[in-house]
Every structure is written in C-alpha cells, then in structure tokens.
C-alpha cells in the first residue's frame, strides 16, 4: 500500500521509499526510512499536502511525494 492512500488517523510502517534519487535522499534524511512508524495526523484542507508524525515530530509531504513511499502493517483508523 502507498503512504498516500492512508487515511487520517491511520498508522503504518515504512516498507520502501521510492522516487527520484534526490527526493528519496531528502525523505530519508528527515528520518522517514524503512522500518519507521508513521502516523497520518491529517490532510490539508485542500487534501494536499499531508501531515505525518514520524519519530515524534510533525512533517508535511505532498501527496505526490508520498505516493512514492510504500507502507505495510497498516493500522486501523482510530
């Protein structure tokens, strides 16, 4: 499943980060890498970008960027 397909309030584990090399590295450097837990805090009012909680801090990603990230262990929306 893709990160961009998660709904608000769902959590998951990052399985693979794809996309262009630069983008991928940037995302990785912000601590979003394989095995990291993510929680979808919310989507912006216009449905893009999305806000995630990773390693205890809040970060936003555009939906098109999040579409490059595969996740598994998807938890249910709380």
């Amino acid at each position: 499943m893709r990160l961009s397909e998660l709904k608000q309030g769902q959590s998951a584990t990052i399985a693979r980060v794809g996309g262009s090399s630069l983008l991928r590295r940037r995302i990785l450097e912000m601590g979003i890498l394989r095995g990291t837990e993510v929680y979808v805090e919310k989507y912006a009012p216009l449905k893009d970008p999305m806000e995630l909680i990773v390693k205890g801090y809040h970060v936003s990603l555009r939906v098109e960027e999040a579409a490059n990230i595969d996740v598994d262990n998807v938890g249910s929306a709380s």
């Binding site: 590295r25 940037r26 601590g31 009012p45």
Partner: protein
C-alpha cells in the same frame, strides 16, 4: 599581547532554538549580511569571554550536510573551508533522533564539536529523559544542557567551548559512525588508493572525503579534480567502480544505504541515552493545530491573519507614513524658504529631501510587516500557512511559502520582495521575486483612479478590478513559464517540518524585525537616494533658455492659460503662467526629450509623448505618473481632478488608450525602490535587469494587444 580570538560556529536543525541561543550569546551585538554570492542570511556576533574575543557565526539551519539546498552548501563550505575553532551543534532534545543526523555528519567532518542539548525541559515535559553523560561517552563529544528561551546555560556553554578550542582535539576512530562491513571495506580501499595517489582536496579529512566520493558528492568531486586533475580522475574512477560494486551488493544506491545506516547508528545511540515514557506527543501544539489547520476553519482563520497583517502594515502603517510625509514636507518648506531660489534650492528640495523622504516613507510599512512575519515565523504559523497554501501555489510551480510575499505585493513590492527571504530554496525565491511585481501595488491605484474615473465613469470599479485580475493571471502564467524554462526543476520537495507552536519572545521578534529593516535602510536606501537625485537631474536639465516661453509646448500651456483666464483673476493667471513654465521646463528637460524620442515606442499603444514621459517618471514611484501628467498638461495642483481629465481628453486620449495606459502601468518596470530590492534580494544585477526587461516587454505587448485589438473590433 594581543587578545586571543576564537571563531565559534553554531549549527543545528531549523526550529532547534539555534537562533535563540545565538541571540542569548551575542545580545544585540550582531552583524547581519549575506553569505558571499548567495542570498542566505549570515549572522555574526562578537562577545568577549574571559579576555578572549569570540566571533560567533550563526550557520543556516539545516537537517543535514548533504549539499542539496543552498543553505546546506553554505553551512558545509563554511565548516570545511573556514575551519571555525569550535562548532556548537544545537540539538533539539525533544527531537533527538533527527537532530543527531546532522550531529553525526558534523562529527564525520572531524572538527571540534560540542553538542548543545537545547530545550531539554520541553522534552522532559513530554516524558523523555536524556542521559547526557552516556551520550557524551558514547560519542566522545562534550555535551552541554541549555534552555534557550530562558537563557540558561549560556556562560557554561562559552566556558566549555573555549576549553574545547584549547584541547588537542581530533575524533577517536572508534567513536565514529561505523558502516556495515561492505561499505567500510569500500571506504578502506578508496582511502588506500587515495594515500597511494597522495591526492585529495587539501585540508579535508581523508576518511570523510572517501565517504563523500562513495556518495557521489558533487562538490567534493569537483574539488578533488580541481586539486589534482590527473590523480583526481583516477580516484574518481576507483570510486565509481566501488559504487557500482556496492550498488550491486545492496541493490540500492550507496548514498541511500549510507543514509539508512547512519540512522541505524543513531537509533542505537538513542536507545542507550533516551528513556521515553510516551510515544506520541499529546500537547498543546496538536490541539492548536486542530483548529488552525482545520478542514473548514483553517482557511478562514488564515485569511483573517493575512487580512490583519495587511491592515496593520498598510492601514496602521499609513499614520506614521503620513506623519513622515508631513515632516518631509515641513523640512522641504523650511529649506525652500532658507535657500535662495535657484538650482541649489531645487536640488536640495526636489532632489535630496524628496529622495530621502522616498526612502524613509517605506520604513513604517517595512517595520510592521517584518514584525508580523517574525511573529509568524517564531510562533511556527509560517509553516502552517505554507501547509495550507501549498496545493494552490504548487499549481504555479511555487512553494506554499511564496504566498505571503506575493500577497504583500498588493501593498508595496519593496517589503514583499524582502519577505521572499522566508523561502528556503533559492530558485523558489527568485521565481517569487520575479512574479511579485505583477501584483498591483497600492501606488499604482491613484493612476487607475484618475484614468478609469475619467474614461470609464461608473464602470471604473470593474475596470480596476479587471486590472488586478490581469496582474494575477500574468503572474501565474509567468510562474509556470519560468518554472519550466529558466528556473527548471527544483520545485523543492515539500518535506517540511511543522514545528511545535512556541510563544514568541519579544527580544527575538525585535531583533528579527530590526535586522531586516536595517538592510533596507542601509543597503537600499543609498541606491534609492542616488536614483532619486538622478531622476531629478534628468527632469531639471538642461534648463530652458530664459526667453523660451510656455508657448513652445504645442497646445498645453495656452489651453491651460485660456481655461484659467475664463475664471478670471490676476492670481489665477499668474498660477497658470507658473504651471505653463513648469510644463515647458519638463518638456525641455532630458526626461522630456527622452520621452519625445521614445514617442514612436508608445504610439502603437495609443499613448502620446506626454503619457510616455509620465510613465518614465513613474520609475521613481508609480504615483508620480499622475502628478507628471498634471505638470505636462499644465493643470494646477490642488484643483479638481476634472481638469486633468479634460486636458487628457482634449489631447486625444480615448477610453481604449486610457485602458492601454493602465495596463502598461500595471505591468511595466517596477519602481526604483523595487528594482533596488530585486537587485539586493536576488544578489544579482542580471536578475534585476531581466526583471525590468521582462516586465516592460510584457507591459508593452499587453498594452499593444489591448489598444490594437480593441481598435480591430471597433472600440475607441
């Protein structure tokens, strides 16, 4: 004996409290400038500690030292090339894992570094405790606790920094990031090869260089080849071979593997030193965000904040502006009375005082706007506004943060262009600066009011609205055009931290506001002043020969004289003569001549030469277009607008040509102050010239389109 000097660099993530620590260490003794060649703000402060002169340099806030953004390049080059005596890495204790990523990269550079655990109190509130001694031991780096916003631990910090500078230094090998066996082997092989060739960028740590070569780091590659072309190429080939080997081994690019491994190393450290009782943050910040970025309320609240900022800047700011204008007028009246009539008086009153006045008149607006922006930035709302607006701005190829500068452009382009500083990516910043002048600034409004009022009567409002809309549409088209051509590619990824909301500190807000305003006053003020004097000279020289009478102007002066003499009265007649003289002077001046010379350029737009001169004079400030028209058509000041309108109509201006002129005013070259701001903020004369050329070309084409197109479909 000369005093000992030390240079201390502050590094850290954005929002780590780095700026607060810097402000606490240096107080108000700060020098703000730009890093050479780029438009990233550079802050330096000097303090004396136990008789040692300390220069404290605030590096741009970055998440990593990969030369990805201009800030990272600046920060890394400074650490590598300037070799500060000590590096203080500010670590946000409530964000340990991510902060340590930058920290480990700084460690790899092999410089003397001290970790500053900032905001440990916040972390503790959130149930996280950090064992500093263990961390210090594991990484073999001194660790100091500070609470930036209470100014705690600053003296201790300086003491430890000075102590560290005096120590022999060097990082013990076993405390460094250790990569997996395959990568370590590759590093070792490359290191061996480099030793053999005895080449590498001078002064760089060898192991670090090898790591960067395996990561295909552009800057290190360039420097390696520059230092030793022959051996450098061989080393590069070796690095490439190893990269291919690693890529095959991991089925992934080496730099990605190494990033992941660094985080692996960090995870190990964090497990050892951090004891945490809660995972997710349940805090005030999240609650605030529930409202401020709410699905329904988020936008109305945002629009309200922006509206409030606009009102404060341009409505509240209007009072001091008026006071300043009155003051300038008073001074120029006094000076006018004291000096004998003649060239000197003209220079002092119309050149210098008017010039200085045109600089400081912006100051209230700029101070208030920068205060508001500092408030947005320091509280953390700026990131939210970008979060809200990104979807829309992304359509133009811009970042969410471009919205505020563009919006402020409706008030005044000068602070708007300076507000583009909040954008991190240089390309985003330049693009924003280039399209901001299409936002119709408030000084253009008087021009529309006069022209639209005269020629469109009750439909004036719709016409003016249409002009604003045209500006927005053209900015969107321009944005998309430039993003796909000139400033291709780097529509920076929107991986943006949404930092917790913080209570802003008055001191930091004021420092922020004043620093930026000072740049306006000192750097741009001079340019604007000189420019005003030059324009004054252009419109004053050469002076018409005494015998030359107003009659030289083909129709304006007699018409004006005739109009007034209808009303009768000797005083009126004299006033009319004075006006006629002034019209003749402007016409005779260099500016008038240039205007006449350029008449063929304006003719296809339906603008006669006097309109052209007025447009040229608008380079000083847009509202001057109206007063120049008044002078050239020899209508009196302070009389009813109807006079100018009548004169314009008499001179053959039609609604269509008025519309063309308004379109031209909307789009053509930005005023002098804006031009100076563009030069300053892009750091390049070429971008400034480009902006002037582009906007004027667009203005000319659009006005041509309106006038000729209108004529084709039978409008007049």
């Amino acid at each position: 004996m000369s005093a000992k000097r030390l240079t201390i660099a502050l590094a850290g993530n954005p929002n780590s409290g780095k700026t607060t620590v810097f402000n606490n260490l240096t107080g108000t003794r700060q020098k703000v400038g730009n890093w050479p060649g780029v438009t990233v703000e550079k802050k330096e402060g000097r303090v004396s500690f136990n008789g040692i002169d300390l220069t404290i340099v605030d590096l741009p806030g970055t998440y990593s030292l990969t030369p990805f953004s201009i800030e990272e390049v600046v920060a890394r080059n400074y650490l590598l090339d300037e070799r500060p005596d000590v590096v203080l890495d500010i670590i946000d204790a409530s964000n340990l894992e991510r902060s340590l990523y930058l920290a480990t990269q700084i460690r790899e550079l092999d410089c003397k570094v001290l970790f500053v655990l900032n905001m440990a109190d916040v972390a503790e509130q959130r149930g996280t405790k950090i064992d500093a001694r263990k961390m210090s031991e594991l990484l073999d780096v001194p660790v100091v606790f500070t609470v930036g916003n209470r100014g705690e631990g600053m003296q201790e910090l300086l003491r430890r920094a000075v102590e560290l500078a005096g120590s022999p230094g060097g990082t013990p090998r076993q405390r460094r990031v250790k990569y997996s066996q395959d990568i370590e082997e590759s590093i070792a092989r490359l290191l061996g090869f480099m030793e053999l060739k005895a080449a590498g960028p001078p002064g760089y740590d060898r192991r670090w260089t090898a790591i960067k070569l395996l990561e295909e780091d552009k800057i290190v590659t360039e420097r390696l080849v520059a230092a030793a072309p022959q051996a450098g190429m061989e080393i590069l080939q070796a690095a490439q071979a190893l990269r291919r080997h690693l890529a095959e081994r991991f089925d992934e690019e080496p730099q990605i593997v190494m990033t992941a491994e660094r985080y692996g190393f960090i995870a190990g450290i964090v497990r050892e030193v951090q004891s945490s009782s809660t995972q997710q943050r349940v805090d005030v910040s999240r609650t605030i965000d529930l409202v401020l970025t709410h699905r329904l309320f988020g936008f109305p609240i945002f629009i309200f904040f922006i509206w409030a900022m606009f009102q404060l800047t341009f409505t509240l700011g209007e009072y001091p502006v008026q006071a300043i204008e009155a003051g300038v007028e008073g001074i120029s009246a006094t000076a006018g009375a004291m000096l004998p009539e003649g060239l000197l008086r003209d220079l002092v009153v119309n050149g210098i005082i008017a010039g200085v006045g045109s600089v400081i008149v912006f100051l209230p607006n700029i101070l208030i706007l920068f205060f508001c922006i500092a408030l947005f930035e320091d509280t953390g709302y700026m990131a939210r506004s970008a979060f809200l607006m990104d979807k829309i701005m992304h359509l133009i190829g811009l970042h969410g943060k471009s919205f505020i500068p563009m919006l402020m452009g409706f008030g005044c382009n000068v602070p708007a262009i300076m507000a583009a500083r909040t954008l991190e990516s240089e390309k985003d910043r330049i693009l924003t600066i280039l399209i901001t002048p299409f936002m119709s600034c408030s000084a253009k409004l008087p021009v529309y009011v006069v022209l639209a009022g005269a020629f469109f009567g009750p439909r004036a409002g719709s016409v003016i609205f249409g002009l604003y809309l045209l500006g927005i549409v053209l900015s969107i088209i321009t944005g998309r055009l430039f993003r796909s051509t000139l400033l291709k590619g780097a529509d920076a990824p929107f991986v943006m931290e949404l930092p917790p909301y913080r209570m802003p500190m008055a001191k930091s807000l004021l420092i922020h506001m004043w620093d930026r305003s000072k740049i306006f006053l000192t750097k741009m003020g001079k340019v604007i002043l000189v420019g005003s004097v030059v324009i004054w000279a252009l419109s004053s020289f050469p002076r018409p020969p005494a015998s030359s009478e107003a009659g030289k102007g083909p129709n304006a002066a007699p018409a004006a004289a005739a109009r007034t003499s209808d009303a009768g009265g000797q005083a009126d007649l004299e006033a009319a003569q004075r006006r006629a003289q002034k019209a003749a002077q402007t016409e005779y001046s260099l500016l008038g001549r240039i205007g006449r010379l350029m008449a063929p350029v304006f003719e296809p737009l339906g603008i006669e030469w006097r309109g052209g001169v007025a447009l040229l004079s608008g380079f000083v400030a847009k509202e001057i277009v109206v007063s120049t028209l008044g002078v050239l058509y020899a209508t009196g000041e302070g009389e009813e607008d109807g006079d100018l309108e009548k004169a314009l109509m008499d001179a053959g201006m039609t609604p269509l040509s008025a519309l063309a002129m308004m379109v031209f005013v909307l789009l053509y070259l930005p005023c002098f102050a804006t031009t100076a701001a563009i030069r300053r903020e892009t750091g390049s004369t070429r971008w400034m010239l480009f902006s002037i050329g582009y906007s004027t070309a667009v203005a000319w084409l659009m006005a041509l389109f309106v006038f000729q197109g209108g004529r084709l479909i039978g409008l007049s």
